[in-house]
Symmetry: C2
Subunit: 113 residues, 2 copies
DNA sequence: TTCATTGTTAGGCATATACCTAACTAATCA
DNA sequence: TGATTAGTTAGGTATATGCCTAACAATGAA
C-alpha cells in the first residue's frame, strides 16, 4: 500500500530526469528490453542502467529477466500516485477559488438587498 | 509557453522533496510569508530558504517583498504542466489498452465468422 | 567449444543537494 | 535611536547523483 511521502519522493525524483521520462514514455507504449530502451541514448550502458534502477526503485517500472534478456514494463499505478498528489493540490486550490467565488457572489446578493 | 523538458526537470525535482511538497500544499490554501511557511519545519531558516528558492526557480511558487516581509504564492499553472505530462503518458497507455481491447474484440468477431 | 550478445559489477570523478553556523542588511517598533 | 523582526549572504560539510571505463558473468549461436 504505497503512496506515502517516501514513495512520492522517489517517484518525483525518478521523473525529474529527461532520460528517465523518455524511458517511461517509451514504456507506456509497451514493454521493451534493456538494450532496446538504451538504444536512443548516447550514454554508456552502465550509466543507463542506473537510470533504470532509479525507475525500478521508484516503482514506475518493473522488469523480469528471461535468458540473458531483461524486459521492462511501465507501472501506471505508481504514476497515478504522483498524479493524484497533484490532483489533490488542485482540488484544494479550486476549493479556495470556489469559496472566493461564493464570497464574491454573496457580496453581490448583499448589494441587491 | 513553458513545458519544455528543462522546465519539467525543475518542476519534478522541486516536487521530489517532502518539505517542498508540504510548502506547496500549504500555499494551495493561500499565500503566506516566508516565516509563516518556515514555522512547521525544524531546519534553520537559510536551509528552508533554499527549498523556497528551488520552488521559485521551478515556477511552482512566486513571491514579492513588501517592506521586510516576503509573501509567497503557489502557481498552479506550473503544477498543471507536470500533471499534463503524466496525463499524456496515461493517454498513450490507455490508447494501448484500447488497441489491445479492439484487437481482442476483432479476434472474437473473427471467431464468430 | 569458441565467439558474440546482453547485461552486470566495481570503482572513480565532478557536480549538485541538503543541511549547518555566523554574520549581515533592512524595516519596523518602543 | 536602539532593539527586534524578517530575511539574506557567505561559506562549510556530508551525501547523492550522473556520468565514465574496465572487467566480469551468463546465455545463445555457429
Amino acid at each position: 500500500m504505497p503512496n506515502n511521502e517516501h514513495d512520492l519522493d522517489n517517484v518525483f525524483q525518478a521523473l525529474a530526469d529527461p532520460t528517465r521520462r523518455a524511458v517511461l514514455a517509451r514504456l507506456t507504449e509497451g514493454p521493451a528490453t534493456v538494450s532496446d530502451l538504451a538504444k536512443p541514448f548516447e550514454m554508456a550502458l552502465p550509466s543507463f542502467l542506473q537510470h533504470l534502477k532509479v525507475l525500478e526503485e521508484s516503482g514506475l517500472v518493473t522488469s523480469k529477466k528471461e535468458g540473458r534478456v531483461r524486459t521492462c514494463e511501465a507501472q501506471m499505478k505508481t504514476l497515478t500516485e504522483a498524479e493524484e498528489w497533484i490532483a489533490h493540490q488542485r482540488a484544494v486550490w479550486e476549493g479556495r477559488l470556489d469559496r472566493l467565488d461564493a464570497y464574491l457572489r454573496s457580496l453581490q446578493s448583499t448589494e441587491k438587498e
